[in-house]
């Protein structure tokens, strides 16, 4: 029979020897162990001064990317919302009006785009589903707040700023493997 865990031990009811009964050697051994911990490297990170290093491909708050000319890439196709296992994404599509070509890349765009950060599980499936390379997860953290409705992030928070210096770098998340994968037309969701 295979045990449930490798750590399981056979229990025995054997009588304790004299040295075990007086406990002192065991206590001294325990104290030896604890004094050893006095000199170990501490696990504490002094937070505001020192910050834990994030992975380059950390999955934090989302960003809705613009293209090189500053136009929103999202076309409100809804694939991210379909892919989302937590059903955190909602959007309303709208038609681009004449004169808005500098704002939206294609004829259709998302007039509202909301992600409920309390529902989101930061799995990154929206990013995988997106055929337009519009949504990405970033290293930024979703900040804490006092009210629940503050966590429904709209386009005002999600869309990246126009200012080229404030653009959000997502190149780390676009690994060559991911880019290669997205070219694979055998995968249904990559066909566009």
């Amino acid at each position: 029979m295979i045990g449930l865990t490798k750590r399981s031990k056979v229990v025995s009811n054997k009588q304790m020897s004299f040295w075990e009964k007086i406990y002192l050697p065991a206590i001294l051994h325990g104290m030896w162990i604890t004094i050893g911990h006095l000199f170990t490297k501490k696990a504490t990170i002094r937070y505001p001064e020192v910050k834990r290093e994030f992975s380059e491909i950390y999955r934090g708050k989302h960003v809705l990317k613009r293209d090189d000319e500053g136009r929103e890439r999202c076309t409100a196709c809804g694939l991210c919302a379909v892919a989302c296992p937590a059903e955190a994404i909602t959007m309303i599509a709208a038609e681009r009006l004449p004169g808005e070509e500098n704002l939206y890349r294609e004829e259709k765009y998302a007039s509202t785009y909301e992600i409920d950060m309390l529902r989101c599980i930061f799995c990154g499936l929206c990013e995988e589903a997106c055929p337009k390379e519009a949504i990405f997860l970033t290293k930024e953290i979703v900040k804490a707040d006092y009210e629940r409705d503050k966590f429904v992030y709209g386009k005002d928070v999600l869309v990246e700023p126009m200012d080229p210096s404030k653009r959000i770098d997502i190149s780390k998340r676009q690994t060559p493997e991911v880019l290669e994968f997205k070219k694979d037309t055998n995968q249904k969701h990559n066909v566009h």
Partner: protein
């Protein structure tokens, strides 16, 4: 006479302030040691390395709401923590903090009172210590507080027996109850611990129980009794209870160092050729280092051993420590007798 009175007043104030400051910083050191033993850093936000943490804690305690349960016995409720604090500060009176100092040709003793029954005095004071906890627990009119108080009193009474029996051997060896005599018999490296290791072990265990420190911290026992005897206390009244625990730790460290580890004596410091006052100062530092070491042991044990169960506590006290202490008294008596009969 006048100058002696002035000197004693100054000495008393210095010792009082010293034990208060030490108790204050023990709380920080305790948390630091706890942190380090658990691979953490401990408090380090208030000031460099958290040095102002005790101040912050003190200020916090002062500004907390002064809460009193409306069914409590008002007089006893206030008396409890005051008594505990008073008792904790009283014990230091008979501890010799160092050899004599000489100012302007006059000799001054670094001991508040060289009572010839110093050890008895300590036991008397320690026994009264039970009342502070008992009264506090009773006056709160809370079942957890009462349970904690009952536990505390039975625990302290039980362990006092073994403690005094352990000390009797020291008294038998030195033939004196005066702390100063006992210290002076331990010149150099002639410490009592080499002759009475078992008595020291019993005394150490009992000291843990008497100061209500882990693994004998059943009276406050957070997991079972909310806060034990101080459940209903808040603000500085609670602070007094917590504070007196650290003063007691400091004093019991001092008593242990005095009775077993040669007090302010250390080998070779009398050969350094220091002047009288410098020698007294170095001796005091030696005593202080010993006390600090015992303080560390108190903390070290606290973060190593889990709490005893109540029946285990009683079994250890009555069935293990007291018989051992009696046996130790017997053996010591026999050895002393044999030594006397040897020509």
């Amino acid at each position: 006479m006048g100058i002696m009175l002035l000197y004693k007043t100054i000495l008393a104030s210095v010792i009082l302030i010293l034990s208060l400051v030490v108790a204050m910083y023990s709380t920080l050191i305790e948390r630091k040691v706890a942190g380090f033993l658990q691979d953490r850093l401990g408090p380090d936000r208030a000031g460099p390395w958290g040095l102002f943490q005790p101040l912050a804690d003190g200020i916090k305690l002062f500004f907390k709401e002064e809460f009193m349960p409306n069914t409590a016995d008002k007089f006893l409720y206030i008396l409890g923590p005051s008594l505990t604090m008073l008792i904790a500060c009283l014990t230091s009176a008979v501890i010799p903090w160092g050899p004599d100092i000489v100012i302007n040709g006059k000799t001054f003793s670094l001991q508040m009172a060289d009572v010839n029954i110093g050890i008895l005095y300590i036991f008397a004071i320690v026994s009264i210590g039970v009342y502070g906890i008992m009264i506090g627990g009773w006056a709160s009119n809370n079942k957890y507080a009462l349970l904690g108080a009952i536990r505390a009193s039975s625990q302290m009474i039980s362990y006092e027996l073994a403690m005094s029996l352990a000390i009797i051997t020291i008294v038998m060896m030195s033939g004196s109850l005066s702390m100063r005599d006992i210290v002076n018999q331990q010149q150099g490296f002639n410490w009592n611990i080499w002759y009475q290791p078992l008595a020291f072990l019993i005394f150490l265990i009992c000291a843990f129980a008497e100061t209500n420190r882990s693994p004998f911290d059943l009276p406050e026992c957070e997991t079972e009794l909310v806060g034990g005897y101080h459940t209903e206390y808040s603000s500085m009244k609670l602070g007094f209870y917590l504070f007196s625990e650290y003063i007691n730790m400091f004093i019991s460290g001092a008593v242990m160092a005095t009775l077993f580890f040669g007090g302010y004596h250390f080998p070779f410091i009398d050969k350094l050729g220091l002047s009288t006052n410098a020698f007294a100062f170095v001796s005091f530092l030696v005593l202080f280092a010993k006390i600090t070491f015992f303080g560390f042991i108190f903390m070290w044990v606290r973060w190593t051993l889990p709490r005893f169960r109540y029946d285990q506590l009683m079994r250890l006290g009555w069935k293990a420590l007291i018989p051992l202490a009696i046996l130790n008294v017997l053996i010591t008596g026999i050895v002393i007798l044999l030594n006397q009969q040897r020509p």
